[in-house]
């Protein structure tokens, strides 16, 4: 979740933000209406899609729900389908997860299964730098692979390690102190304050001042630890345990539904309790083994097998892709429904939360990364207008050319747009300046009107 396993409870204060007490209910009286919470969720799913069934033919409001997008029927008005976006210079390929949120053009692929180097900061961390102080966790970074397989990178370009352990995320969320560290910390603090008091008498005036700083800091931390210990004892409003399968193993075919559903539920809880404003879920890697890949068919390999042909020429390969697409879209739609059902002030949670759903490839056979299948949902409170299909860069509808996938669009028109522009727009709608982020040259004002 955070780069070093810092105790996130440190951010949990005696003010008593506890689980299932949404932010606005606590502060509703005090907060001015304009001061609505702004949040962003970035979900990344690897590999390409069945491109014959993803992008609608028509743009604008009355686009038709393609077979891939059917699961979104109930939240159709809350989401925008995006055509024609890509990175400008960033290369495609197996490390798409490491470029997706950085738009980093300098990167070289180091090695299979390691992060791209040197990388640049990802948009979620850029936002978190500005908003992080307001919440317990600056950002929540999760993924089924976890660790360095993450879309989040800090200012130094180092990966922000992703947490994969549902139980651990949940424990941190409710402040359960799973390793019982608080008590030990309390006794360590006891000891050092004794020591400092002894030392103080032996020092000169200037030094005493320094030591007083030390003692005050120790006392401040002691107070917090005590508050945390007390918080641990207080009965908390229970999370909806039915929705949480905390021991789900994403490597087991029959548990991967539970794993992703639980992860989305934890993300929902983190947002609802205002534990963080920024969440990144880098689901899994594209190539090779790993979690979330047991939907009957080798996801990555079958992508290659589509050979950019029409669907009828490779029915099996495209069938596998469609199965994965539908599976993910069902889960995402449910997450969006959950957010839209939660009330926050006069609106719902989704209205204050921009949800980016990104895929790293479009046509998977040769790992093309033009016309990426992207979705943006919610965030109307941030200014996004939803319920449409928008095509950028003069992107034409997907129509077979000589029995194969259409060629890469090279004519971007007058005002080209890229993924970095989209990410930057999200950041700036959250009130975080992001000019010059990644490859960005402009904001996507088309999304706002």
């Amino acid at each position: 979740m955070t780069p070093i396993p810092i105790s996130r409870r440190n951010f949990l204060r005696a003010s008593g933000v506890c689980l299932a007490l949404p932010w606005l209910e606590v502060f509703a009286g005090a907060a001015p209406a304009s001061n609505t919470l702004k949040r962003a969720v970035f979900v990344f799913v690897p590999n390409g899609v069945n491109m014959w069934q993803f992008h609608p033919a028509k743009t604008g409001r009355d686009y038709e729900l393609t077979p891939s997008l059917k699961p979104f029927a109930s939240v159709r008005d809350r989401l925008t389908v995006l055509s024609g976006l890509q990175h400008f210079k960033v290369k495609g390929g197996h490390e798409e997860w490491a470029h997706m949120l950085t738009g980093n053009v300098n990167s070289e692929v180091a090695n299979k299964h390691t992060a791209v180097r040197p990388n640049t900061i990802s948009i979620d961390q850029h936002i978190a730098e500005a908003t992080g102080k307001q919440t317990r966790w600056p950002s929540l970074v999760v993924g089924a692979d976890g660790g360095r397989m993450t879309g989040s990178f800090n200012r130094q370009g180092e990966p922000v390690l992703a947490d994969f352990d549902l139980k651990n995320i949940f424990d941190e969320l409710v402040g359960a102190d799973p390793h019982g560290r608080l008590k030990h910390r309390a006794s360590v603090l006891d000891l050092v304050s004794e020591q400092a008091a002894d030392l103080r008498g032996k020092l000169g005036t200037g030094d005493e001042r320094k030591l007083d700083e030390y003692l005050e800091s120790v006392r401040a931390v002691e107070k917090r630890v005590k508050a945390d210990l007390a918080f641990k004892e207080t009965p908390k409003a229970a999370a909806d345990e039915k929705r949480l399968t905390l021991n789900a193993d994403p490597y087991k075919g029959d548990q991967q539904d539970d794993y992703v559903d639980t992860m989305f539920e934890l993300i929902y809880l983190a947002l609802q309790t205002d534990s963080t404003r920024v969440v990144t879920f880098t689901s899994t890697r594209s190539e090779g083994g790993g979690p979330l890949k047991s939907l009957g068919g080798d996801w990555h390999g079958q992508g290659h097998n589509t050979n950019d042909k029409v669907e009828t020429a490779e029915p099996k390969a495209f069938g596998v892709l469609s199965a994965y697409d539908t599976w993910w879209h069902e889960r995402l739609a449910r997450f969006l429904e959950r957010l839209s059902a939660a009330k926050e002030g006069g609106a719902d949670l989704l209205r204050n939360t921009a949800v980016f759903f990104g895929r790293g490839m479009s046509w998977p056979a040769f790992h093309r990364s033009d016309n990426l299948p992207l979705l943006l949902a919610g965030g109307e409170g941030l200014g996004f207008v939803q319920g449409r299909h928008l095509a950028f860069n003069s992107q034409a509808p997907v129509i077979a050319v000589e029995g194969k996938a259409p060629p890469v669009n090279k004519d971007f028109g007058k005002n080209p747009a890229c993924v970095s522009d989209l990410l930057r727009t999200i950041a700036e709608r959250m009130g975080v300046e992001a000019k010059g982020f990644g490859e960005s040259r402009r904001t996507l004002d088309e999304l706002l009107a």
Binding site: I4, N111, V188, V192, L211
Partner: protein, 779 residues
């Protein structure tokens, strides 16, 4: 020559005598040094009535008062020597007269300092800054790990981030310390080796990963090799895999060589099953880069004869030539699964009772963490915490871990506490040997004293062996910290990572710029070059990107081997003697940092030189100064260049006093643009890099500037001395440090301005080795 000269020579010659005569009480006090000079050239303005520049020299009646007002008079001799004073239009003394005056005043200082114990000043207890914390944890716990990277930034003061007064501690930082202590202890006691061997260099045929790509065919005795980096000493396995090309070929005999020494000879028979025959050969290795190579001992004679025609070949061997088909060269390990950190921290008498074992472990760790022997009372406290942890249900190791955490957040670890070991002594006296060890190691290494320093301190033999220790420590890799931490802060280029100058200044260029300066400073230190190299060294370090940036075409091939230099590698480049670049002043890093985003700033560059080269910082501009653009607007004919606008600005009387000093220095660098690239035009107008100092001395361009600065060698030496002393002591300098600085400057000058001399002198100086008596009242 003139009468004037004679007069001053006489004054200088007489001065010491009069002082010696003045020593017995009741005698007439020695006169103000250079009194006639002051009378003739200074007092008409700097009098009690006029008090020009807020300076009244009339109040100084004798030598003693001059010595007491050391700062004022140091500044006066500098202004007189620089020709800044007397101002233009006033009667001017000759150059010799100026020197004689300076000598007279300095002579007074030296006499006053002679034989007197110097006040070593006082250092506030210093908290470890982020760099020091990281390095100390590395050396204390034997782990490679940088926990301080998410600590809040350290506030710099006097130009450096290691100053006791400025290093504060907040609750946030305290929490980070607690978190870091948990993580550090967990890592240090972890059971699995932290870092396996890692391949860093490849035989030219090996592309990536730990295996030979596909296959490598070796036909001759030409060796193939791979280099590995090893983080810790230990037992490793050399793993080689191969077979003869065809079943009926003679089995290749191979010599396995590690770092030039044969480890073993092996024979690759054709495998009964599987793709190759594997050998794993155990070997004990020290940390560092290790080279593993293979030499074929029985190459087919007909191929060996024409060795050059049959180089090792990757992947395909279509002719099925006989030879060795190599599948892998690998170094695996360490095989002993107890990592060094754990072994060293937990080492104890296996036969002792657990509590005694705990005492042994905790005592050793606390001794090193506190950089002095821990008292029995201190250790008892940690033992009690250990007892309590056991009672709370922790096992032996976890309980030890909790106490180790407590040590890592103790004020005795986080601060460099220098308690007076002779509080009864009234006057200044040497700091304790352990404190000296810490001062040394944090100065040169930004880390704790090592296994050589602490025993010396324990025996009380460190101060006797200071020079030898400094020599040893400078030769140690850890002294990179001195270059990495001192140089960028002295040269003010630490913020390079944060400046924006449009798309041209991307991450790589930025890093290359910073690296050039670091490598240059490193060279001056390692080769013990004169510090004047910083001003006029005609060499630098460039990679391909920076060479292009500088428009230097000769970059690209290694001089000796004529092999192409890889684009990212830095190489030493000799700069043309008639070129514009030499020394750090023309480094892109410095030139970029001293520019505005959209234009060069002769003011910033001039100020930079005054502060970082000449030790004569100017006061900040008054609050109501309009920006340059505005100051120039509304004039009849608006000048086009930055320089033109500045000249106009400078013509205003309120600005002239300082800017007459600042701007000329900056003008000379006008041939370098905002990113330090050479240019002939500023906008559309040709660059004018002619300049004139306030004393009327004319010079042009970087060459001229270099000559001016080299003419002020001692001034530069003083500047660098003050900076280094500030860094070494962790406190700003005061008047009482004047004698120390003067003495170091003299010693460095005498030793041909060699850089290491400066370091040795700083270490020997009284502020570095002494302390004020505890009872002494601070001045």
């Amino acid at each position: 020559m003139t009468r004037q000269k004679l007069l001053f020579v006489a004054l200088v010659a007489m001065a010491p005598m009069s002082v010696r005569a003045a020593d017995p009480p009741g005698e007439k006090p020695a006169p103000v040094p250079g009194a006639a000079f002051v009378q003739r050239y200074c007092l008409s303005c700097h009098s009690a009535e006029k008090k020009r520049g807020d300076l009244d020299l009339s109040g100084f009646r004798d030598e003693a008062t001059v010595v007491a007002g050391r700062k004022v008079w140091s500044n006066a001799i500098r202004a007189v020597r620089d020709g800044e004073m007397p101002p233009k239009g006033a009667p001017q003394p000759t150059a010799d007269a100026r020197e004689a005056f300076a000598e007279a005043v300095r002579g007074a200082f030296l006499r006053a300092d002679a034989g007197k114990p110097r006040d070593p000043g006082r250092v506030t207890i210093r908290r470890l800054n982020r760099t020091e914390y990281n390095n100390t944890v590395r050396d204390l716990c034997h782990i490679e790990f940088e926990p301080a990277d998410n600590f809040p930034a350290d506030e710099p003061s006097h130009g450096f981030d290691n100053q006791g007064d400025a290093l504060s501690l907040s609750p946030l930082l305290m929490e980070r310390y607690l978190d870091a202590a948990e993580v550090v202890v967990a890592r240090a006691l972890a059971g699995k080796p932290a870092k396996p061997a890692e391949r860093v260099g490849f035989a030219q045929f090996m592309v990536s990963g730990s295996k030979v790509p596909y296959r490598l065919y070796v036909f001759t005795s030409e060796p193939v090799a791979a280099t590995f980096r090893i983080a810790a000493d230990g037992e490793y396995l050399v793993r080689v895999e191969g077979k003869p090309v065809k079943k009926d070929d003679p089995a290749p005999e191979v010599s396995v060589i590690v770092d030039g020494k044969e480890l073993k000879r092996v024979t690759f028979a054709f495998p009964e099953k599987g793709a190759y025959t594997r050998y794993e050969i155990p070997v004990a290795l020290k940390q560092g880069n290790r080279r593993v190579s293979l030499r074929l001992l029985n190459p087919p004679a007909e191929l060996e004869e024409k060795k050059a025609a049959y180089p090792p070949q990757v992947d395909a061997n279509r002719d099925n030539r006989p030879g060795l088909e190599l599948h892998a060269i690998d170094l695996v390990g360490p095989t002993d699964d107890e990592p060094e950190s754990r072994r060293r921290i937990l080492a104890c008498d296996p036969k002792a009772q657990p509590r005694e074992q705990a005492r042994e472990i905790l005592t050793r760790f606390a001794d090193r963490a506190f950089r002095r022997p821990a008292t029995a009372e201190e250790v008892d406290r940690y033992l009690k915490l250990y007892d309590r942890s056991l009672e709370a249900g922790q096992n032996f190791e976890a309980a030890i871990g909790t106490s180790l955490q407590a040590i890592l957040v103790s004020p005795n670890f986080l601060f460099r506490v220098e308690l007076d070991d002779r509080p009864q002594e009234k006057g200044s006296h040497p700091i304790s040997e352990y404190q000296l060890a810490s001062r040394l190691s944090y100065f040169l290494w930004s880390s704790m004293p090592d296994e050589a320093l602490l025993p010396l301190a324990a025996k009380g033999e460190l101060s006797k062996n200071l020079d030898a220790q400094v020599t040893r420590m400078l030769a140690d890799d850890r002294s990179d910290a001195l270059v990495e931490n001192f140089a960028p802060q002295w040269l003010d280029i630490r913020d390079l990572a944060r400046v924006t100058r449009g798309p041209q200044l991307d991450v790589r260029l930025r890093e290359s710029m910073a690296r050039e300066t670091l490598l240059f400073c490193d060279e001056v230190l390692r080769k013990d070059r004169p510090i004047t190299d910083f001003l006029d060294g005609r060499y630098t370090f460039l990679n391909e990107r920076l060479a292009r940036h500088y428009g230097l075409a000769q970059f690209g091939r290694d001089k000796r081997t004529a092999a192409p230099v890889p684009a990212h590698a830095f190489v030493r480049v000799e700069l043309p003697a008639d070129g514009p670049r030499a020394g750090v002043l023309t480094h892109a890093s410095v030139l970029t940092m001293t520019s505005n985003p959209d234009r060069t700033s002769p003011v910033k560059r001039g100020t930079w030189i005054l502060e970082n080269v000449l030790a004569s910082p100017t006061p900040p501009p008054p609050a109501d100064v309009p920006p340059l653009e505005q100051a120039a607007a509304g004039t009849v004919k608006e000048p086009v260049t930055v320089r033109g606008r500045l000249e106009l600005h400078r013509s205003k009387p309120g600005c002239a006093a300082c800017h007459a000093k600042i701007d000329p220095l900056g003008f000379a660098l006008e041939r370098f643009d905002v990113l330090g690239q050479y240019r002939d035009k500023d906008g559309k107008a040709p660059v004018d890099d002619a300049a004139e100092l306030s004393n009327g001395q004319k010079f042009q361009g970087t060459d001229g500037l270099r000559k001016v600065l080299l003419g002020k060698k001692d001034q530069f030496t003083k500047c660098l001395t003050e900076k280094m002393l500030t860094y070494a002591l962790g406190r700003g300098l005061g008047d009482h440090d004047g004698p120390t600085v003067d003495a170091i400057v003299a010693a460095v000058a005498k030793d041909n301005y060699r850089f290491q001399r400066l370091i040795f002198e700083v270490v020997r100086s009284s502020p570095f080795t002494m302390r004020r008596g505890t009872k002494e009242t601070p001045k």
